[in-house]
Symmetry: C2
Subunit: 344 residues, 2 copies
């Protein structure tokens, strides 16, 4: 493997100049730079990252702790994030080092990864409300970026969508179509996103003076969407609209609607939040699913770049992004049956 020394020997230059030429320092003569680049190419020079890292004090590695859930419900989202983050970090010569969390203590894997190795910072995903990992890393001054929001007033870099607004937008949209009995089939409350969705839902419903009896918080399985919807639709005053945590949940809900002999959207409307995962796509529903949409993949580049910016000194308060999901109205939502009757 060619080194800077090889190039400098070949050209009769110092390694310092070769280094500067290759790293785009403005002061080097353009002819020198070209000669250097050419021989570097010819010799197949690749900078030794390890040496660079020793001198810069950076390891070029950021950590992520993977939580293996026995129910595997997080797989799809995890793969999506893994793909996007790996690619985004590779752009910046940074590797993603994984540690797998099999422990009860949520911060233990962080301890281990920090003890054992040189990690520049962490990407925290799938936060729980008031995530304990945040406190742990903050106390130690270890840089990180959080995907999502685990508290109302974050003081650290974080990027995510406004999950309160996701629910509120859905409720308001259904309300405007005439719906009054609106159900929420939510994710599990130990996830921060689901807790926010619940809060947003309750707030919006209460503001509109609607009852919030039809709420379920449960693991994101199609079968759960199915059984919860089936239950609710059997009640005397069944919901006329469902707000679903994900398109996977929606798939179960839609099946329940069919199995109860109802039509969508004539009898029952369905809206879901759409992470734009490759499976269970909203447009493949029949009719296509109305959604609030925020592709999970879109978070990866910002997350990577925010962490690296933070490592380079950008203060945390400049690195806080809360986005609004986009509302896409398709065929699965429509006016309530009551309203249609009233209207004609």
């Amino acid at each position: 493997m060619a080194t800077l020394k090889d190039i400098s020997a070949e050209l009769g230059l110092s390694v310092a100049t070769v280094s500067r030429a290759l790293n785009g320092f403005p002061e080097v003569n353009i002819k020198t730079r070209n000669k250097v680049k050419e021989t570097a190419d010819r010799l197949g020079y690749r900078p030794n990252r390890i040496a660079q890292r020793l001198v810069t004090g950076r390891s070029g590695m950021v950590g992520m702790i993977v939580k293996i859930k026995p129910d595997m419900s997080a797989d799809q989202t995890f793969f999506e994030m893994l793909t996007g983050l790996t690619a985004a970090l590779a752009t910046h010569e940074t590797d993603l080092v994984l540690a797998v969390d099999q422990e009860a203590d949520p911060v233990l894997p962080y301890t281990k990864l920090l003890e054992r190795d040189v990690i520049d910072g962490f990407i925290l995903n799938a936060p729980v409300p008031n995530d304990p990992r945040v406190n742990y890393l903050q106390e130690r001054g270890i840089p990180f970026v959080l995907h999502g929001q685990d508290r109302r007033e974050p003081t650290y870099p974080n990027y995510g969508i406004d999950n309160l607004a996701v629910s509120a937008d859905a409720v308001r949209m259904l309300f405007n179509l005439g719906h009054r009995r609106i159900a929420l089939i939510n994710g599990e409350l130990h996830s921060a996103y689901a807790a926010d969705r619940l809060d947003g839902f309750r707030d919006a419903m209460t503001t509109l003076d609607l009852s919030t009896v039809n709420i379920r918080n449960d693991a994101v399985f199609e079968s759960h969407g199915y059984t919860h919807a089936l239950d609710m639709l059997a009640q005397p005053s069944a919901p006329t609209a469902f707000v679903c945590a994900t398109t996977v949940i929606a798939a179960g809900v839609v099946q329940a609607i069919k199995d109860r002999g109802f039509c969508m959207p004539q009898d029952v409307s369905v809206i879901a939040h759409d992470d734009a995962l490759p499976l269970t796509r909203a447009i493949n529903f029949d009719p296509a699913l109305t959604v609030t949409r925020a592709p999970l993949r879109d978070a990866c580049v910002p997350l990577a770049e925010m962490l690296l910016a933070h490592l380079n000194g950008t203060p945390a308060d400049k690195l806080q992004v809360k986005l609004n999901a986009e509302m896409i109205v398709r065929g699965s939502t429509g006016p309530t049956p009551e309203r249609k009757v009233d209207g004609t």
Copy 2:
């Protein structure tokens, strides 16, 4: 962060001696060693891996390319391997660097990872027959270990079970119970393991002079197990026994048997290969499932250690392991109905 220099300054020793003391060199005086260790502990010394790696020429990173399948069928096994490998490598101060393969060209991610960084070697999982990655890495002299067998006569480190024997054992066992019409619900043939299972099945059946009409090679979904078994059981001469690629397939097959009104094992026997994944456990079947068993997790420590041994100079021909899966007979297999009739 404390360095060797800090310790040496504190103790009036040279960094060389401190280094040797900490690294367990036999020549250091026991009292010196103890003093060094004590101050190292007190100062919270952690060796700088980057510096170690620069001088040893090792990066302490091994690569694995993750293939994201749209059907997500490999998730469970991937997580299992990820967990085990991460833990096994951590024992040896080695990190697992992931690259995600989203490309058509199966070697492209290897090129990228090698170009971009300093990777000591690779772990290749989920091989296809005559895996092209093998040739690529061998040509370039890059160390790797393969999980499984992608060809009959490997010339590189590899670890896996004998998948031909898995099928052959299952067939022979069913034959001895009197079964003659034996079906195989296999994985997809682009996987090396499935290709071997098919070969083993065909060979064993042919040797026993049995017909091999009932074979399906398909993605490992419970629904596929269900539909294939349902089809086969509707035929005039339906199989009396099923050999299943995995317990997930078996779950579908068992459901089909029930739905056709048959009893297991009185009417139909089922045997599966069991990777011992946390979901779909063989003992949770009713009756419990007869399996050939080889926990995927068990491969992780050997794989990690074989790769590291290879990096340290152990020749490839000493690093080739082919294990036999264990046969565990439970309630899902029994004598054929014909035989019982004949016998009484």
